[in-house]
């Protein structure tokens, strides 16, 4: 039988603050991390709002050596991992070794480094490109930096699954434990805002002028965000042996690929439907068991309509409360579903559903029970985290109160 997998710690770097509790508190209060972009000049781009992590100082979380050898995206990962370890009350050296793996998601990784290296190349030729900065680039490096920080010597893997990357990493990380390949997995995802990437989203016509209004009739698109959320996943045996207090249990997960269009979701949501149903059934639940859905909800016309339709189809018209925290922290791309997972875990703990802010007019195409503008409390045994992504990727993960996943659930077989 596969082991139960517990989340025993979480760390968050976000435009709304650090640490899972502060993050969730800000979400519950409906605060916004969206401001004018400070990281680069937006005058030629046509949009100038984003949810940046403005006050991040690597040295608050990283050693001097770590800060020197990492880019911002990796630094977010290490910061999140340190917070998660502390949250899990894991002494620094206790998970050292081969039975600890690191699996992280991202979309573009150290995108700002590429831009910096390329600027140097254009300005000064190849000699202008510093070898130390070359060796800091690489999507591969995210989990490697974290493995060094926590002493992990097992698998070091990046799953660049675009905006579903957090769910991919958590789902696959949980399967590594269930399939006996690891006792502890440090997982989650990280993303930073880069100039090209911000501009690219604008050029796709996907970016809203100044606010993100998921599921609203007047929604105008997404707001780009950044951050990281990193988790400690432990096998039941490992967690119990050390007397850990699990925050939540990771249930089943579902993935699929639309195989339809590189940026647009399938109009019928075939892949999303599959991912949602699989996550629920894999967890040994019925759709009627799900208490709350942390939706992908990007506030683009296409995403929200398809996602809402899929949710209605899966939940058979039952009005399950749904929220999109992208209304407050923007679309953190690869980190989005990881940050949403952090919020899901807090919802599982305390029953607070974060609000979908800026919601004023119901869209008949998004006929779902939106938790509009104010947080509210409700049942919180089983929470679903949904994501869709570039490349037609779909992934959904179930989080539940520890022990709530039925022992006969397929994910535990």
């Amino acid at each position: 039988m596969g082991s139960r997998v517990y989340v025993t710690g979480a760390g968050v770097v976000s435009s709304l603050g650090y640490g899972r509790e502060a993050f969730q508190r800000a979400l519950i209060e409906g605060r916004s991390g969206v401001t004018r972009v400070s990281g680069f000049d937006t005058s030629a781009i046509g949009r100038d709002f984003a949810a940046e992590v403005k006050d991040f100082r690597a040295r608050d979380w990283l050693t001097a050596a770590e800060a020197r050898r990492t880019g911002r995206c990796s630094a977010f990962c290490i910061a999140g991992a340190r917070m998660a370890l502390e949250d899990a009350k894991l002494p620094q050296d206790s998970i050292r070794g081969e039975r600890t793996s690191v699996v992280l998601g991202t979309t573009m990784g150290e995108v700002a480094l590429i831009e910096k290296l390329d600027r140097a190349w254009v300005a000064s030729g190849p000699e202008g490109v510093k070898d130390i900065e070359v060796s800091r680039y690489g999507t591969t490096l995210l989990p490697i930096h974290v493995a060094r920080a926590v002493g992990a010597r097992g698998m070091v893997l990046t799953l660049p699954a675009a905006c579903a990357a957090g769910n991919y990493a958590i789902g696959f990380g949980a399967d590594l434990i269930r399939r006996g390949r690891a006792d502890v997995v440090i997982t989650g995802a990280s993303e930073i805002i880069g100039h090209v990437q911000f501009s690219g989203f604008v050029r796709l016509g996907a970016v809203a002028p100044d606010r993100c209004q998921p599921f609203d009739l007047e929604r105008q698109g997404l707001i780009v965000g950044e951050g990281s959320a990193i988790f400690v996943l432990e096998s039941e045996e490992h967690a119990m042996r050390r007397g850990a207090s699990p925050l939540a249990e990771v249930g089943g997960w579902g993935i699929a690929c639309d195989a339809f269009h590189i940026t647009r979701p399938h109009p019928d949501g075939e892949g999303t439907l599959h991912a949602l149903r699989r996550a629920i059934s894999d967890s040994g639940f019925l759709a009627s068991d799900v208490d709350f859905i942390n939706a992908h909800g990007t506030a683009t016309k296409a995403n929200d309509a398809v996602e809402a339709r899929c949710l209605n189809e899966v939940f058979g018209g039952r009005r399950v409360p749904v929220s999109s925290i992208k209304s407050m922290i923007g679309h953190c791309m690869g980190a989005a579903s990881a940050l949403e997972a952090a919020s899901c875990i807090e919802t599982v703990r305390d029953g607070w559903y974060p609000p979908t802010m800026h919601y004023s007019q119901r869209d008949p195409e998004c006929d779902i029970e939106v938790v509009a503008n104010e947080a509210r409390r409700g049942a919180h045994d089983v929470v679903l985290n949904n994501s869709l992504a570039f490349g037609g990727y779909d992934a959904a993960v179930i989080f539940a109160k520890p022990g709530k996943i039925p022992s006969e659930a397929p994910c535990l077989r």
């Binding site: 030629a44 781009i45 050693t63 050596a65 770590e66 020197r68 050898r69 081969e98 991202t106 979309t107 573009m108 590429i114 390329d118 600027r119 190349w121 190849p126 510093k130 070898d131 070359v134 060796s135 800091r136 690489g138 999507t139 591969t140 490096l141 490697i144 493995a147 992990a152 010597r153 097992g154 698998m155 070091v156 893997l157 990046t158 799953l159 660049p160 699954a161 696959f172 399967d175 590594l176 100039h195 090209v196 501009s199 690219g200 604008v202 050029r203 016509g205 699929a256 690929c257 639309d258 195989a259 339809f260 269009h261 590189i262 940026t263 892949g271 992504a389 570039f390 490349g391 990727y393």
Partner: protein
């Protein structure tokens, strides 16, 4: 691990498209055709020597339409994946054969620097002209998983799609990810492997790290005494893998199986270092793979090496193998033939192991030890630059 049967292979590299050509290259290509680059200005890189797929034309396989906004990496992936599905008898003329179903088929593969080409291209537009002129049709290529997203679109692979990054080890790691997906019944067949595309930025990076063997310098992967550096290559190898019962039920050959996987990480000894060519990690990955396959070192007939000509890199493998096996095993030196293909490196190695076992081919690129004609069990290695290493056991019969 649950053994996975390899039922098909697709490949693209210099002078190679498809399985038959890859088998030919395995049999005959002792050293690849390392030449001055054509994809970027050789005058800027005196003495640069690389293997490019200069003759690669996707149109005969994919047709003329729909390729305009797709980058070189994606074209490699598309052609090799199509080859692998057709070679496995799942598709013909790009269509699923009866009994095969895109809802139960997926792709899971590696690229280490896949989006670099498009990132640099778009960044130049933003930097030298204006971000207003970024081509939105090309922007998706800057996202690492876009290439496999296109593979799913073109090949109708809907069950799973995962891009895997672990530097040079990613292609071997894609096997474990696929095994996890197949073992949890998310798919019946998955195309695994990797691809990497040549680009000046990639050349620049390794040149700045002083890792390259230029013209006139000895390039000899596996010979760490003589070799002066590595040389980059490009292309893709993709393999169709399935659980044995599924392959058997559809009448596919189950002659060659992947039976063991191991991976490990060893941090550098110094806090200031990033690069770490670690014999400890290779050794642990190898021992884990052998344990996983329930084999002992003496069961292994030969090794498909990860050596790339950079002497410290090659020395790490030599040390690890000496520790695990004692006496040296014959080694296929795949990167002599194809160059260092980074995220695709493990896939070229695995493809070599597959055709060596399935067809009894002796890889032409091998070391001085006699390659066993009746080889049944091969260890395939992938060494990363950062202390990461992965290993896979492939068996016949």
């Amino acid at each position: 691990m649950t053994p996975l049967v390899i039922t098909g292979l697709g490949a693209v590299t210099q002078g190679v498209v498809g399985r038959a050509a890859f088998e030919g290259a395995t049999r005959e290509r002792e050293v690849g055709s390392f030449r001055a680059p054509t994809l970027f200005d050789e005058a800027r890189w005196p003495g640069a020597r690389v293997v490019e797929a200069t003759d690669f034309d996707p149109a005969p396989v994919l047709g003329e339409k729909g390729l305009r906004n797709i980058d070189r990496l994606t074209k490699f992936f598309l052609v090799a994946s199509r080859n692998a599905l057709e070679d496995a008898g799942l598709k013909r003329d790009a269509k699923w054969l009866e009994g095969a179903d895109g809802r139960r088929a997926g792709v899971c593969a590696s690229t280490a620097y896949g989006s670099l080409e498009s990132m640099v291209e778009l960044h130049r537009v933003a930097l030298l002209e204006s971000p207003r002129y970024l081509n939105p049709a090309k922007f998706p290529n800057t996202v690492i998983n876009a290439a496999l997203g296109y593979v799913s679109i073109w090949e109708d692979l809907r069950a799973v799609n995962a891009t895997v990054c672990n530097g040079n080890c990613g292609a071997l790691d894609s096997i474990l990810v696929a095994e996890s997906f197949l073992g949890t019944d998310r798919a019946d067949v998955i195309v695994v492997g990797g691809a990497e595309a040549m680009h000046e930025a990639l050349y620049l990076a390794f040149e700045r790290l002083e890792a390259m063997a230029v013209d006139g310098q000895t390039f000899a992967p596996g010979d760490e005494e003589r070799s002066k550096g590595m040389r980059l290559g490009e292309g893709s190898v993709m393999l169709t893998v399935e659980r044995e019962e599924f392959a058997r039920a559809r009448g596919a050959s189950c002659a060659v199986k992947i039976t063991g996987f191991g991976t490990s990480f060893e941090p550098p000894s110094s806090e200031v270092m990033i690069i770490n060519l670690s014999s400890e990690a290779i050794e642990r990955a190898t021992r884990l793979a052998l344990d996983d396959a329930k084999l002992t070192p003496s069961d292994i007939d030969a090794v498909v090496s990860s050596t790339n000509g950079y002497s410290a890199y090659d020395a790490a493998e030599k040390t690890a193998l000496a520790s695990v096996f004692g006496a040296a095993k014959p080694r296929a030196l795949v990167k002599r033939a194809y160059g260092e293909t980074l995220g695709a490196g493990g896939a070229f190695a695995l493809g070599t192991a597959y055709v060596a076992l399935d067809r009894g081919i002796t890889p032409a690129a091998h070391d001085s030890a006699q390659w066993p004609a009746d080889a049944r069990r091969l260890l395939v290695l992938a060494t990363g630059f950062y202390g990461n290493a992965s290993a896979v056991v492939v068996e016949r019969g």
